[in-house]
Structures are given as structure tokens and as C-alpha cells.
Subunit: 156 residues, 2 copies
């Protein structure tokens, strides 16, 4: 188990693209998003997969935190489990943008039904940690329920 | 992924106890039992644990079948995930009773809130396979929703 602490933002413009150091394609869906846990299946670049259980989200200072349990699973299992999903499959390209010592922005560009949506996330060690504020960063949506991945997998 | 094919019975008496060749203590709970999949956390003898995703149950001849994805996980993860459950923790002692070549009865004696309940299950290779009928076997409850493990975890 790890504790995931993160903050999430919209973007103001595309200037982040000049700083991308890596990217990967993600397909993911939820087997459950009810009760005390969400259960997510994720396939990365069609070649690796994970099953992730996350506990209820807690507001922890300016960030959100939650327990996270993540296991590597066979890709063929993950592809079969995507068919058992609730909601839809989210498809996005994750771009890695350096954010200073030991920190990385994950800028997710969504495709499919959510094309046009771009979200920047950063994982922190402490909820009260200062977050870098690059000029391309837009409005913060940490804790805004309409931008949670489970909500994005459910609806419009 | 494997396909689990099973039949389930009540017991008529305790004669099976004379044939037990092994037993283990099981604590389990569900992170999800809605939609197309159930997600189960199980701790066996306090010393090993599994995370299991099962697809929707299908009636397949006289048996029930469903897709099953099972992963060994750290016991400490499982114990923490039990706290994220929906419903209650099921506690039972599973007794192994030989059922002929390559077949084993799993006789589950429940404890806690379900004390008094005993269920005998057998896993098959084919839905139409003949099931041994020992004298201690009671009424078949395959497919009876009140005897599914997810239902037992939910209610009375």
C-alpha cells in the first residue's frame, strides 16, 4: 500500500508541449467506483497492465490523498477485464513534463468521447508541499468531482 | 484468466467430517459486487492473500460459470483492503473432502454472523459433468441468489 497525494489542474495553453520528456498511451476503466474503493484496470502502450485499488479520497490540506494498492497483471487479463467495466473506457496520452527536483507533471490529453480535455496532475510527498506554477498551468480542479477519473469514466 | 465452473449444495448431515483431508481459515470481503464484476479480497490462514475479480455469473447447463482473474497479493495489503469493503467480512473454515479422481469438495463452515451455515462446493471442468452424490450432500443451491458469497456478504 502507498498513499497517493496529488493535485490536479486545467491548462492555460500548450506551452508545456515544448518540455515533454516522455509519453505513453493509456486505456483504463473502472470495475467499481462505488462504496469505499475504486478498482481500476489500466493498459499502458498496449504492452503492460495494472490493477489498482484506491480507497476513498480524503482532503488533506490543499491536496487529495488516498490509499493505493497497485499490482502488475498480464495484459490479456486486463483486456478481458475492460469488458467487465462500469462506465466507459478512458483513453488518454500521458505526457511527462519535468517539474523540478523529483517532481513530474503528468499532462493527460484525452481522446475519444473526452477529446479536447487536458489535465495536468502532480504527485506530492506531502499535502502542504509547494507546487511549481509554470505559466501554462490553468485553474486548479483538485477535488472538483467532475474532473475525477471515475466521474470522467461515467459521464459527459 | 480462468473460467470457474461450479455447483453448490447444502449438507444433509455431518458425515463429511470423517473424510476431511485438510482445512484452512478464510476471511474475505468484497470491494465491489455491482455491475459486471465482483472484486474480492481473501486472507487464508492469516498468512497468504489474493485479490480476485469475477465476471458476471452465467448459467451454463446445470452449473454456473464465470470468468475469474486471481492475483496473489501481500497479506498486509489485503488486511488494509478489507477495511475498504462493501458489506461485511465473511469468515469460514474450508474443509477439503476428496470427491473422486481430480475432484474435491470444499465444505465451508461459516462463523460469526453466519454461524450455522455450511455449504459444499465443487469445481468442475465442464458444466455437464456428473457430480458425485455422497450421502451427506443436501439440497442443491447452485444459482440460488441468497447463497451467493456476495449476497452472504451483504445481508442476513
Amino acid at each position: 500500500m502507498t498513499i497517493e497525494i496529488e493535485r490536479k489542474f486545467l491548462i492555460a495553453d500548450d506551452a508545456w508541449r515544448a518540455q515533454v520528456t516522455g509519453q505513453k498511451h493509456i486505456r483504463q476503466a473502472y470495475l467499481s467506483d462505488s462504496g469505499g474503493a475504486s478498482v481500476r484496470v489500466r493498459v499502458v502502450d498496449g504492452s503492460s497492465a495494472k490493477l489498482t485499488v484506491k480507497g476513498a479520497t480524503r482532503t488533506d490540506g490543499p491536496a487529495l490523498s488516498r490509499a493505493e494498492f497497485e499490482y502488475t497483471i498480464p495484459v490479456e487479463d486486463a483486456l478481458a477485464m475492460l469488458e467487465l467495466r462500469t462506465g466507459r473506457v478512458l483513453e488518454k496520452t500521458r505526457h511527462l513534463v519535468p517539474a523540478g527536483p523529483g517532481r513530474t507533471w503528468e499532462v493527460d490529453v484525452f481522446a475519444g468521447a473526452l477529446e479536447g480535455l487536458v489535465l495536468a496532475e502532480i504527485e506530492l510527498d506531502r499535502a502542504d508541499e509547494d507546487v511549481p506554477q509554470p505559466e501554462w498551468l490553468g485553474r486548479e480542479v483538485t477535488g472538483d468531482p467532475q474532473y475525477s477519473n471515475t466521474a470522467l469514466a461515467k459521464g459527459g
